[in-house]
């Protein structure tokens, strides 16, 4: 049972991220929502690679005869984090441009393009 807790956390993080994307009107909060979503997905990948009692998959000074966790999901997760940094930086910079041009970061008022 306790092994499933990370998956519950994954679902909760994703649900929270979706909630803030759908209902929060502030662009910074939307950026936070994206980060939450990303955190949930990354946690999911990491949890997939975990083996009970495993150590970090590095041979340097590793203890003898101990199981190691799967390294591939960690590599995937790292890639996803790097992409996430780029995404967040981009969202925040565009939010800054929008604030300069529109004078607001409320999504209700940032809708000149519609119809």
């Amino acid at each position: 049972m306790i092994g499933n807790f990370p998956f519950v956390a994954v679902i909760m993080l994703i649900a929270l991220g979706m909630y803030s994307l759908m209902f929060k009107k502030n662009l910074i909060k939307i950026a936070i929502g994206l980060t939450l979503l990303e955190g949930g997905v990354n946690l999911f990948l990491i949890t997939l690679g975990y083996r009970k009692g495993g150590v970090a998959p590095i041979y340097t000074m590793a203890p003898e005869g101990v199981k190691m966790v799967l390294p591939t999901p960690q590599a995937l997760c790292l890639t996803s984090i790097v992409i996430g940094v780029a995404t967040t930086a981009l969202v925040l910079s565009i939010a800054m441009i929008l604030y300069k041009q529109y004078g607001t970061i409320e999504t209700d008022e940032i809708r000149r393009l519609r119809g």
Partner: protein
């Protein structure tokens, strides 16, 4: 020569990628010449893609193992499934890569004049090269995580390109942030689905996943995520709202590449449905989901287009509606996939129509967006109410616009007619109502393009546009090349269907071939 051919899959990715980073440094020495450099790089990429296409259409699928001891060695001895990143290029992949190569080359050529007066052009070209690289990656890769990485690169670089003109007003930034939020959601959900695959099968290679596929509950969930997110990225109604925003605010040369990007997403959707799942999934249900999305896209897209006043927004709604045709054609093929008799009698034809429509749409939609860019370049506005009588001054643009509009409306002998005819006739055998809706949409398409033609090109010469001239040569060149390809495709559609489209469709349908090229004989 042989070496170049062997390494062509890697070079197609590596050349634009390296050029993307050389461009800013080159821009320090000779700012004016970088546009020519970028066009040359895209020209070489186009040549490489053509070489690869010739190779694939004669000899079959190419496999390229990155970092492996040998290019074609997917399974080193002792392995049951591949572990390295593999490019697996079959007829469908090269079909999409050809579209990408042609469109991005012409976009770069068009940009030579179009972007001349902007500052920061070196960054523009870096992002354009990255966008093209990511599209090639999405289309050629055989590794699903690699696909995710290229998917994200494509959304990040296209967002930066959409917001390129945001120093003048806020609208490009608004479009960009909408697109960014939407595409981040889709990319993260795709990553979640990839995690579901990895958790079950322990591999990321698409051919290996396809051979292990059980269609468990988790696979079902992954399918739903892929289906929704990739349909959204290709602009299917009712998840299409980002499309008109992003397409209308991006610089015109970029809009053309964005059309190709959303088609790369569409390709990924088809690839995942057909090559990963194939008949294991409930083909009738998923096929009907695609058909309903397609019909909604066609109809709502075109009716929204009729009432638009912004020329590029109008065209953007049309690209939604054209995506509907592709979804309809391929959806019909998918719905009868488990029924060999129906598949042979009209399913394959419907898919041929849908896939043929992808390349046709890229060509004429590209041409139309380029003409819209030409109008914007000379008049400085996208508002149709402020235009009029431009045919007096811009005769070439008018001619190209007529060709593009006739092609998208499905008027013979242009290419749009050929693919639409295949779709109508094969879909009619599946369900007559769908074919009737498709024809109605085609009529409305013509109506809305007549609207642009009337309000922008016809009428008396306006006072403020008296001194307007024809656009510069590089823009005319890009539009002329597209027009010539459109006319050629319209006059000889059978050649295209026989040599390019039909192998692509068979590559999609034939899943065992896809898996056996990597995993050996089954």
């Amino acid at each position: 020569m042989n070496g170049i051919l062997m390494h062509a899959p890697a070079l197609v990715i590596a050349l634009p990628l390296l050029a993307a980073f050389v461009t800013p440094i080159l821009g320090r020495f000779n700012y004016k010449k970088i546009s020519w450099f970028v066009s040359a790089v895209f020209g070489v990429t186009l040549l490489l893609t053509l070489l690869m296409a010739g190779q694939i259409l004669t000899n079959g699928t190419i496999v390229y193992v990155f970092g492996g001891g040998e290019a074609g060695l997917a399974l080193p001895s002792g392995y049951t499934f591949p572990i390295r990143i593999i490019f697996q290029i079959d007829a469908m992949g090269i079909f999409m890569a050809l579209i990408t190569a042609v469109i991005s080359f012409l976009a770069a050529v068009y940009s030579i004049s179009y972007m001349e007066d902007y500052s920061g052009v070196d960054k523009y070209y870096t992002l354009l090269l990255l966008l093209a690289t990511s599209m090639f990656g999405m289309e050629l890769t055989g590794d699903i995580f690699n696909f995710f990485v290229f998917f994200e690169i494509s959304s990040i670089s296209s967002v930066a390109l959409i917001s390129f003109r945001s120093t003048f007003n806020g609208e490009p930034a608004e479009a960009a942030i909408k697109y960014m939020v939407i595409s981040s959601i889709s990319a993260l959900m795709v990553l979640f689905a990839i995690g579901l695959f990895y958790g079950q099968y322990g591999t990321l290679n698409m051919a290996a996943i396809a051979s292990f596929m059980q269609f468990t509950k988790l696979d079902k969930m992954a399918l739903i995520l892929f289906l929704t997110m990739l349909a959204m990225k290709s602009g299917a109604v009712p998840m299409h709202m980002w499309t008109p925003d992003a397409y209308s605010e991006a610089p015109s040369a970029i809009t053309v590449v964005l059309v190709a990007t959303s088609q790369a997403s569409l390709y990924a959707l088809f690839r995942i449905i057909f090559s990963l799942y194939n008949v294991t999934l409930n083909t009738v249900t998923v096929g009907w989901i695609l058909i309903i999305l397609g019909v909604l896209s066609m109809f709502i897209g075109v009716t929204m287009a009729v009432i638009q006043k912004d020329i590029k927004r109008l065209m953007a709604y049309h690209s939604i509606s054209q995506t509907g045709y592709m979804l309809l054609g391929v959806g019909v093929g998918l719905a009868v996939l488990a029924n060999p008799a129906a598949l042979a009698s009209y399913g394959i034809k419907a898919m041929e129509g849908g896939i043929f429509h992808i390349i046709n749409n890229a060509l004429y939609k590209g041409l139309l967006f380029l003409t819209a860019g030409a109008l914007f370049y000379r008049t400085g506005t996208r508002d149709l109410n402020k235009m009029g009588g431009l045919a007096h001054n811009m005769s070439y643009t008018t001619l190209f616009y007529i060709i593009g509009a006739a092609a998208i409306a499905g008027i013979p002998p242009f290419n749009g007619f050929a693919s639409k005819l295949i779709i109508y006739e094969s879909v009619y055998q599946f369900n007559p109502l769908l074919a009737i809706i498709a024809m109605l949409v085609s009529i409305l398409t013509l109506a809305s393009f007549v609207k642009i033609f009337h309000s922008a090109f016809l009428g008396p010469q306006l006072e403020q546009y008296k001194s307007v001239q024809e656009v510069p040569k590089s823009m005319v060149f890009a539009m002329a090349v597209l027009s010539i390809i459109i006319i050629f495709f319209g006059l000889f559609p059978n050649l295209i269907v026989k040599y390019i489209v039909h192998p692509a469709v068979m590559a999609l349908i034939n899943q065992s071939h896809y898996t056996s090229t990597i995993l050996g004989g089954m």
